[in-house]
């Protein structure tokens, strides 16, 4: 199935969890926040959150700003 990760299409297994997607994208130990379909998924629930076809995932972090 396909999901949209920060605007880019990504093919993932049908059983993929959010934690698995984050790990395979290099975000396992990073300080980030994640939305799936505009709803925040708290860090404590990344492991149990199963992705669905067409999910829109946003990963944000803190950068320099005024």
């Amino acid at each position: 199935m396909n999901v949209l990760l920060n605007g880019e299409t990504r093919e993932v297994a049908g059983t993929c969890t959010l934690a698995e997607l984050l790990a395979s994208s290099g975000y396992a130990e990073r300080r980030i926040a994640v939305e799936v379909n505009r709803e925040i998924v708290p860090r404590s629930r990344h492991g149990e959150h199963r992705l669905a076809d067409g999910d829109r995932i946003e990963i944000v972090h803190a950068i320099g700003g005024g």
Binding site: L5, A33, R38, I40, V60, H61, I63, G65, G66
Partner: protein
């Protein structure tokens, strides 16, 4: 130093959302050359509260890049996530909720909702709407606004923990443009008033503090200087000097001269 320690200077703290700070200079972390310069300038400024922006990660590109929060760790600095780049209340609220998740439940945010890209003036209607939602949602809101005394009062009534009027447009470096409005805002306020945006050089920061503002927040004036670390140091001194002058109470302005030395006993 003993005299200073015993004087009210030692206890002159800025309290925001119940937390005391010794520094009244808040700094941004944007526009620096690299993270090392960000760290050195923040250090020279003596800032305890630093703003950050919340942005999408670049998938696959920043995997090993150093992270801003490694350089400015949240256990040492109060991280103030902003809503820069938001043009509606909805976008700003969404950004604040993401920031809260990112920072493990941290509730202090800098709300700014901009009106247009040319002026970067705040959209005050959207700002009021976002402030109401965020306060209801348990956020401690420090709000960027125009230098309008009525609006500042309204934002305080909503429950914002600090009101942050602009001195001049963001990044303009024009300094305090309407000191009478700022004075009125300060006189009416029960929450800290922090000048946010428009400072160009040290004297601008000193003027804001001499007017009685509780602090100054700046980014471009430091990051855009030829020597950002030296300018950060200058701003630290200016904010401290302006604050001390405000508390000392300046002499009244007079139209005519008044001799400093005694007139009697002149030979």
């Amino acid at each position: 130093m003993t005299a200073l320690a015993a004087s009210p200077l030692a206890t002159d703290t800025l309290v925001i959302a119940g937390k005391p700070y010794r520094s009244r200079l808040l700094t941004g972390t944007g526009k620096f050359k690299d993270l090392d310069e960000t760290r050195r300038a923040t250090d020279a400024a003596g800032a305890e509260i630093v703003t950050v922006a919340i942005r999408r990660t670049n998938i696959g590109q920043d995997r090993d890049a150093p992270n801003l929060l490694d350089v400015l760790p949240p256990d040492r600095y109060t991280i103030l996530p902003n809503t820069a780049g938001c043009y509606s209340a909805d976008e700003a609220v969404r950004t604040c909720r993401l920031a809260r998740e990112l920072l493990d439940g941290h509730t202090l945010v800098k709300l700014e909702v901009l009106g247009d890209q040319k002026t970067l003036f705040p959209d005050v209607v959207q700002t009021l709407a976002a402030a109401e939602t965020l306060v209801r949602d348990g956020f401690d809101v420090m709000v960027y606004t125009s230098d309008d005394p009525i609006l500042a009062r309204r934002l305080e009534e909503i429950g914002c923990v600090a009101v942050m009027p602009l001195a001049a447009p963001i990044g303009s470096g024009l300094g305090v443009q309407n000191r009478w409005n700022l004075l009125e805002i300060v006189d009416n306020a029960k929450v800290p008033i922090i000048v946010d945006a428009g400072v160009g050089t040290a004297s601008d920061a000193a003027i804001a503090m001499e007017l009685g503002c509780d602090g100054v927040l700046m980014n471009t004036a430091i990051a855009g200087a030829k020597d950002p670390v030296l300018m950060a140091h200058a701003m630290k001194l200016a904010v401290e000097a302006g604050r001390a002058a405000f508390r000392a109470g300046r002499i009244p302005r007079k139209r005519f001269a008044s001799a400093s030395s005694p007139i009697e006993g002149v030979i």
